[in-house]
Amino acid sequence: MVEQEGIRRYVAHIILWIGIAIVAFPVYIAIVASTQDNALIANGQMSLLPGGHFLEVYYQTIVVGTSGTTREPVGNMMLNSLIMAMLIAVGKIAISIISAYAIVYFRFPFRMAIFWIVFITLMLPVEVRIYPTYKIVADLHMLDSFAGLSLPLIASATATLLFRQFFMTVPDELLEASRIDGAGPLRFFWDTLLPLSRTNMAALFVILFILGWNQYLWPLLITTRDDMQTIQVGIRKMMTTNDALTEWPIVMATAVLAMLPPVFVVVAMQKLFVRGLVETEK
């Protein structure tokens, strides 16, 4: 019995390791490729061991950019992506927590109708409404700006729904105790509801930041200036070159750099995230 258990665990571990290898191998390739000489890669003679060009490739990627073109250095792209992802994540959380508060805690005319309208927008992601959205952003002269990059992605039904569900689990007695304690609607929101939503906000921030960071279609459409380019769009543009070799080490280095902020956010927020899952008590 005990022995069988041991074998099972062994098998389970092997399967998990295989899974990890499948996921990690492309990442490894990207890292390795980013440290090698471009000519080697272009000849198809890429080694599976790291090459010796780590520092120079990353320096060129971040500070200078690809050599053949007038593309921006990746450092600037990362900054653009970071600002956009932060605006989207923070903006979405701020808007949706307030709207969820209104929907859950206030009686006003057409409350349910408004909730359903918000809910229905779930079915209309950016891709579906991309033309009208583009038109609006263009008419408001927000092309090539951070406002144009982030605003259309901020209004979010998902986050509103999530906060609504969370608020509904907060016991009514807390609101009543606050009312007796002399806290008005804003005080209750600020003193009680926000601190209680901390872990939810953290979890949502992780998801939304990655979502914002990985935006491709929308930034591609509305940014034309190179200095407003985000990293996801930048990678794609680096790969298509007309008359020169694609600089694969730099492309790979950019891909690796593009992975880092989401990883960093997940690692940094993990503690809060897990604590939110463990402490169920409201």
Partner: protein, 363 residues
């Protein structure tokens, strides 16, 4: 310090459901009033109306000489203890107690004095910096009490504050609440469905049923003279034996003299029975077959069935199945199961009610 007066208070929900059908209660300054009744009788709704958490559809609620129908909960000068305590989970014990005072703009030094005094009284001083989740149920209960007393309100409102505690702690906290209320001498309204809590805590007991007051008064007076069969079976454990006085053995024993003849229902408390062969003059004797015995140490409950079980008493909570009678006898000595016994109660211990159970008849 304040009186609380309810005048013909009504609550109708938007759907048309009438939760409170006109209630008049007068709680004197410093008195401890307990609202008791089965679940759904409207007692919690009534309390929440006093707190200002529910709107009032009709009538007036008067706290300390001021009609508060339109006054916000925070302005009513009340403090409430909730069934689930409703402590702010993210605040320390100290901040939980201080929150209401801070919102009122009280100076931090004064808050500190009050919270520390409350913590001393409630023996919470060592845990002021802890969060509610690090406390046991009884300690959380005390924090909820502390949050109420630091406010020094005119009225305390308790909404089944002990029902989340285990039996032992409940008794201890019950005594503590009573002592605290005596010492602070603050008018209190307390909601419970536990008739034992109601009996032991109350200066004034309000028995409610179906949105109406069945009886108001001193707990012992209510116990001794229940006004309706509902009160009779609700107050007292085990409940009063109720039987109809159709023309049968019981009717014959009651005799046809005086007002007893009008009665449709006869009630006898389990402890008023004596196992005996004699029939006291004017009293009632029943022949029973013993069906079950419960020994709890100091006393024993004998469940017996009557030979002729024709009684059809209006349904009330805690009612016994037709024909079953509970007899409470002291000590652990009891007849054997299946034995036939005869029990009797004296005339003074009989409770007579009209046939619909709504009116008490004094014999």
């Amino acid at each position: 310090m304040a009186n609380v007066t309810l005048r013909n208070v009504r609550k109708t929900y938007p759907g048309g459901f009438e939760a409170i059908k006109g209630v008049d209660v007068d709680v004197g300054d410093g008195q401890f009033c307990v609202l008791v009744g089965p679940s759904g009788c409207g007692k919690s709704t009534l309390l929440r109306m006093v707190a200002g958490l529910e709107t009032i559809s009709g009538g007036e609620i008067d706290i300390g000489g001021r009609v508060v129908n339109q006054v916000e909960p925070a302005e009513r000068d009340i403090a409430m203890v909730f069934q689930n305590y409703a402590l702010y989970p993210h605040m320390s014990v100290y901040n939980n107690m201080a929150y209401g005072l801070r919102n009122r703009g009280m100076a931090e030094a004064e808050i500190k004095t009050r919270v520390e005094e409350a913590a001393r009284v409630l023996e919470l001083a060592p845990m002021l910096e802890r969060k509610p989740r690090q406390l046991s149920g009884g300690q959380r209960q005390r924090v909820a009490m502390g949050r109420a007393i630091v406010r020094q309100p005119k009225v305390f409102l308790f909404d089944e504050p002990l029902s989340n505690l285990d039996a032992k702690l409940r008794i201890a906290m019950r005594v503590e609440i009573r002592k605290l209320q005596r010492r602070l001498n603050t008018t209190s309204i307390y909601v419970t469905h536990d008739q034992l809590e109601a009996m032991t805590l109350a200066d004034i007991l309000v028995v409610m049923n179906g949105g109406q007051v069945e009886q108001i008064g001193n707990p012992l007076a209510i116990y001794e003279k229940p006004a309706t069969t509902f009160v009779a079976s609700f107050i007292g454990a085990p409940p009063m034996n109720l039987m109809s006085t159709r023309p049968d053995e019981v009717k014959t024993q009651l005799g046809s003299n005086g007002r007893a003849a009008e009665a449709g229902i006869l009630g006898i408390r389990p402890e008023d029975f004596v196992i005996t062969d004699q029939t006291p003059a004017g009293g009632v004797a029943l022949a029973l077959t013993v069906e079950a015995i419960e020994r709890v140490g100091a006393e024993t409950f004998v469940y017996g069935s009557r030979q002729q079980d024709e009684q059809q008493v209006a349904a009330t909570p805690g009612e016994l199945p037709p024909g079953e009678v509970i007899v409470r006898i002291p000590g652990a000595e009891a007849p054997a199961i299946g034995q036939k016994i005869r029990v009797a109660a004296v005339r003074e211990k009989l409770h007579l009610f009209s046939a619909d159970g709504r009116k008490r008849i004094e014999a």
